[in-house]
């Protein structure tokens, strides 16, 4: 327990507002919270455009929640009523319903664009390095929850793509040996995607995952504020403190980042509004054309594709054909050999790697490619979370790493985008080959990172940030 209660006494002629704030501050740490979390939270002064996406992600989260609440007032989570509750009630009868709907659908895609850019910042400047690993892990958990939230939300309009996309993805769980079919049945609540599935996905989308997301975002920010922000030069600003106890190279978030983020928000809203008002379908990528047909369990669409933000990982799944499994087996062998020859792991760790490699190879020769496709699909997401332990570069930021590291990042980025594009297309033999190559590039980027990230001639890392006065 702290000290005994001490009432703050202001002079009698103090403004009413000050007295009110003092009354609250005596009973609730409002001013302290404001100052610690934002007002007097000192952040490096050399933040660039890449540092806008965190606050934008928070804005979009609020936007999705608010528009979501209004949608929930009119939406009916019943297989017979869902489609019309959107296309009739919300889009036509409810005043401004169409605007709320478009904000929510555009917001979903905007969320992923912003989050992918936010993650790119982390990659460029080593924001996940010690002591910020936990921020990255919370962020990774947020990414997983966001993908689940989008997946559950996408079933709700009950269009053809909603229904069949959910059918395909839930069936993937059926590929898990032994427990698969029962697991799929448990998730769906039925033998096929049906009204039961719709109701539970509605519950997950509207309350379960938003609560988890809010908790994780709070944890993400608390972890950040505990160690302090990274910056584009990747140096620790807290190592050079001024006479006032604050870092020399840091500035209080208010007013500097309040105004900067406000400008960032205004630019985001411009682009966002342009889409909402002039291109809400975005060529069929934000609102799929096929989803304007009510779900029909009797009619399978000729081309089932997930929403654009899932397509890179979906490509990895589709690339894993029976033939590709031999390439994967060869890759596992090569990787274990590489670990034995090149790494500085302990003998025990190397033995463990060999055993795991052997088990994997036996598994790959016995279990069908469909299962390993699911494994690689999941791994392609999970491996992102492992970054803090894969990156061994002596310099945090890309600015002080050898030039060829940047080209590796570009190659990784292009592979990711290529996988994304290929995921929207039908899997022809040529496309499958390219996605297989890109899958190998994608995984190699991460799995070989302990070596390439420390290789090359690094530039001297400065002790103070590079800042150009505005």
């Amino acid at each position: 327990m702290g000290a005994a209660f001490k009432e703050t006494k202001l002079p009698a002629n103090a403004p009413a507002g000050h007295k009110a704030l003092a009354w609250i501050d005596d009973r609730f740490p409002l001013s302290k919270l404001w100052n610690d979390q934002w007002g007097k939270y000192y952040a490096p002064k050399n933040f660039n455009i890449w540092y806008l996406f965190g606050s934008l992600a928070m804005l979009i989260l609020v936007l999705q929640i608010v528009t979501g609440i209004f949608l929930t007032m009119h939406y009916k989570p019943d297989a017979a009523l869902a489609f019309n509750s959107v296309e009739m009630t919300i889009m036509r009868d409810v005043p401004w319903g169409w605007l709320v709907r478009y904000m929510h659908s555009t917001g979903a895609s905007a969320f992923f664009i912003v989050v992918y850019l936010h993650m790119t910042r982390g990659l460029l400047y080593g924001s996940y390095r010690k002591p910020r690993e936990l921020i990255w892990i919370f962020g990774f958990a947020i990414f997983l929850c966001l993908m689940a939230e989008a997946f559950f939300g996408y079933l709700l309009p009950w269009g053809q793509m909603s229904y069949w996309g959910a059918q395909v993805i839930v069936n993937l769980f059926g590929a898990i040996p032994v427990i698969g079919p029962d697991l799929s049945l448990w998730i769906r609540g039925d033998y096929v995607v049906s009204d039961a599935t719709l109701n539970r996905f509605f519950a997950f989308h509207v309350i379960a995952l938003p609560l988890v997301l809010l908790g994780l975002v709070a944890a993400h920010l608390i972890a950040l504020h505990e160690v302090g922000s990274n910056n584009p030069d990747g140096i620790e600003v807290k190592e050079h403190l001024g006479p006032d106890g604050h870092p020399l190279d840091a500035i209080p978030s208010h007013p500097y980042y309040s105004t900067k983020d406000l400008f960032g928000v205004s630019m985001f809203l411009l682009i966002f509004s342009a889409v909402v008002f002039f291109a809400p379908e975005m060529g069929g990528y934000f609102l799929e054309y096929n989803n304007f047909i009510p779900a029909d369990s009797m009619k399978t669409p000729p081309h089932i594709a997930p929403t654009w933000y899932f397509t890179p990982f979906y490509s990895v799944l589709r690339a894993t054909t029976a033939d590709f499994m031999y390439v994967v087996i060869a890759a596992v062998v090569l990787y274990v050999v590489f670990l034995w020859v090149k790494s500085r792991l302990s003998y025990k760790a190397k033995m463990a790697a060999a055993v795991i490699g052997l088990v994997l190879i036996i598994g790959m020769l016995t279990l069908e490619a469909k299962f390993w496709g699911v494994v690689l699909f999941g791994s392609s997401v999970v491996i992102i979370g492992a970054l803090p332990w894969l990156d061994h570069s002596p310099a945090r930021s890309i600015r002080y790493r050898p030039k060829w590291h940047m080209w590796l990042y570009v190659l990784f980025g292009l592979s990711f985008i290529a996988l994304g594009y290929l995921g929207t297309q039908l899997p022809t033999p040529a496309y499958t080959l390219i996605s297989q190559v890109c899958t190998l590039l994608y995984f190699s980027f991460f799995l070989l990172m302990p070596w390439w990230s420390a290789a090359g001639r690094f530039k001297p890392v400065p002790t103070r940030v590079t800042f150009h006065p505005h």
Partner: protein, 253 residues
């Protein structure tokens, strides 16, 4: 080196694969018709020709006010499947009957113009082409077939307007295999005339398709008008936010 060469050869050909899509009938561009008269004509055609079998269960009759019709006009001329103008454009035909009579349930047309968009063309293009490419085919139960949807269950509802047509098919050598011959479409032959000329029918269909595009999203007019105002406001706001930010940051060294 061999694998790399193969890989590059494959990569070089990849852009060409864009054209190797489902290979449907090429779609004509639906003419741009956004004036009230066209939309009202389209509404008239829709209610008279489509609403017997198809429903538009998300559309209320009184929404037609947005294309310049009064409740009286709607009630006197267009109110066929309901009693009050506030009711929905449903159809009396039961799905089970439709399936028995036609082999397929006529889809609801509320958002059909949005559903039929594809890389081959917009939903309006699809519908415009579909409605104008019916032809006589005695092998089909209805006596009609269609170029855009081969073996479609729907008859040519507007045949009295367009007349009866048959496609002219010519034999050509297969471009992929010189030893084979394929039938290609080479134009239309008017077997019996309709009450409209070909251009008049095209215009009427364009009106109907414009109406269907409007009905798929009645708020689109408001959306675009409001959008312009919002973007202007946000541009001014962004400019002010930029200068405000600059004014705070100029003192930082």
């Amino acid at each position: 080196m061999n694998f790399t060469k193969k890989l590059f050869a494959v990569l070089a050909l990849v852009p060409g694969l864009v054209f190797a899509s489902e290979g449907g009938f090429p779609l004509d561009r639906a003419p741009e018709r956004s004036d009230m008269a066209s939309l009202q004509n389209g509404a008239k055609l829709f209610v008279n020709y489509c609403l017997n079998c198809h429903s538009a269960s998300a559309m209320r009759y009184n929404r037609l006010r947005d294309i310049g019709l009064t409740d009286e006009q709607i009630k006197n001329n267009l109110l066929f499947s309901a009693d009050k103008v506030g009711e929905l454009m449903t159809t009396a035909m039961r799905p089970a009957d439709a399936k028995a009579w036609f082999g397929a349930v006529p889809p609801d047309l509320s958002v059909i113009a949005r559903a039929k968009s594809s890389p081959a063309g917009s939903g309006a293009d699809y519908l415009y082409t579909y409605l104008r490419t019916f032809y006589k085919d005695d092998t089909r139960p209805t006596g009609w077939n269609n170029m855009v949807v081969p073996n479609v269950a729907m008859p040519h509802v507007m045949w009295q307007l367009q007349g009866v047509r048959a496609p002219k098919m010519v034999e050509e050598t297969d471009p992929h295999d010189a030893s084979k011959k394929i039938h290609t479409f080479a134009g239309w032959e008017q077997v019996a005339p309709g009450s409209m000329s070909a251009t008049d029918f095209d215009t009427a269909t364009a009106d109907l398709v414009a109406y269907l595009s409007w009905m798929a999203e009645p708020a689109q007019g408001t959306r675009k008008k409001l959008g312009a105002i919002v973007l202007i406001f946000l541009s001014v706001f962004a400019f002010l936010a930029w200068r405000l930010n600059a004014s705070y940051w100029k003192d930082l060294k």
